[in-house]
């Protein structure tokens, strides 16, 4: 895309371009606030995260100069982001895929309550702690 040209003007982020990006970031901040005032259900999460990723990309690429500095420094950020998603994905996948290990009656540790009002025996209906 811009490989050769961007590499040639090594690490030059002009004040004019930074000012434009600054204004863009402020506009996106206002936009995400305004979107959040409407109740769009799942879409509000999608829009809020999309705007956040857009803002974060502007900061990382231009303010943090990743657009100009190629190679190893980009790898450091990419690795961290991949690790973050792996962690979040498997934690959520674990919790969401749990199921009751036994129905109450099939649970060998469970005994029917001897008398009403005695609540120390709680039949477990879920495998969650």
């Amino acid at each position: 895309m811009v490989d050769s040209t961007a590499h040639a003007d090594h690490g030059e982020l002009s004040p004019a371009r930074s000012a434009m990006i600054y204004v863009g970031l402020l506009l996106l901040t206002v936009a995400t606030y305004l979107f959040s005032r409407f109740n769009l259900g799942t879409w509000s999460v999608v829009i809020a995260l999309a705007i956040a990723i857009g803002k974060a990309s502007l900061v990382a690429l231009f303010f943090m100069q990743l657009w100009y500095h190629r190679g190893s420094v980009r790898l450091a950020l990419a690795t961290a982001v991949v690790w973050l998603f792996l962690l979040a994905f498997f934690v959520v996948a674990d919790v969401k895929s749990r199921y009751p290990l036994a129905n109450p009656n099939a649970n060998p540790l469970w005994q029917p309550p001897a008398a009403q009002g005695h609540s120390s025996q709680e039949p477990s209906t879920s495998g969650r702690p």
Binding site: L26, Y33, L49, F63, H69
Partner: protein
């Protein structure tokens, strides 16, 4: 002052030395992202378990205040970009001023967030077993506020550290420490400040907007 603009003997030239500093800084920033990754993963898990409480919690937090805080942090990031630019152009006075402006935005952010914390203390929207906020009694509401305090608290600690770093850099800039062949410290301090901004960019929608 130590002449840091000089190339150390184990580097081929100044550009290699700069790249090494950058890579070292980015490796550190990656560990910072991983530090927050644990909290983001916990957020994803508890949000999926207690969806209703998290939506109500986010609706209760002051989104307008957080929008202003976001703008303040972005302004700080821009100030640091300008400081980097001035340091490269050997303009000591402007470098110092830009760095002080960035540190001031950090202090402003902490003040605004302190006001938010104060409201939560007054209404009892506190983490864990100290939660006693009557308006939101959905299951998991205390978990939302636990994560809110952990995530914004850890972030605020980073803001404090950033203010310290920026003030120290401003002090050095005033003494004429930086010039067009020695601006590494400004660049690295700036990277740290941008990361603080970057993390807030995700905390803001997750905690306040959705």
């Amino acid at each position: 002052m130590r002449p840091e603009g000089h190339v150390q003997e184990h580097f081929a030239n100044i550009e290699v030395q700069r790249q090494a500093a950058r890579l070292g800084m980015w490796a550190f920033l990656a560990t910072e992202i991983l530090l927050f990754a644990g909290l983001f993963a916990a957020y994803a898990e508890y949000r999926s378990l207690f969806h209703q409480a998290f939506v109500l919690g986010a609706r209760h937090l002051d989104a307008m205040m957080a929008t202003v805080e976001t703008a303040v942090l972005i302004t700080g990031s821009f100030a640091v970009v300008m400081a980097h630019h001035y340091a490269k152009s050997s303009k000591a006075g402007m470098t110092c001023l830009s760095l002080l402006a960035a540190a001031a935005t950090g202090l402003a952010f902490l003040m605004l967030h302190g006001i938010e914390y104060w409201h939560h203390f007054e209404e009892g929207a506190l983490p864990g077993k100290y939660y006693s906020f009557p308006e939101i009694q959905a299951v998991g509401a205390s978990m939302f506020f636990t994560l809110y305090f952990l995530m914004t608290g850890l972030h605020s600690l980073h803001v404090m550290a950033g203010v310290g770093v920026l003030t120290w850099l401003a002090w050095r800039a005033a003494g004429g420490a930086f010039s067009n062949n020695n601006y590494n410290a400004v660049e690295m301090g700036g990277l740290y400040w941008h990361l603080v901004d970057l993390i807030w960019i995700f905390l803001f929608p997750l905690l306040y907007l959705v």
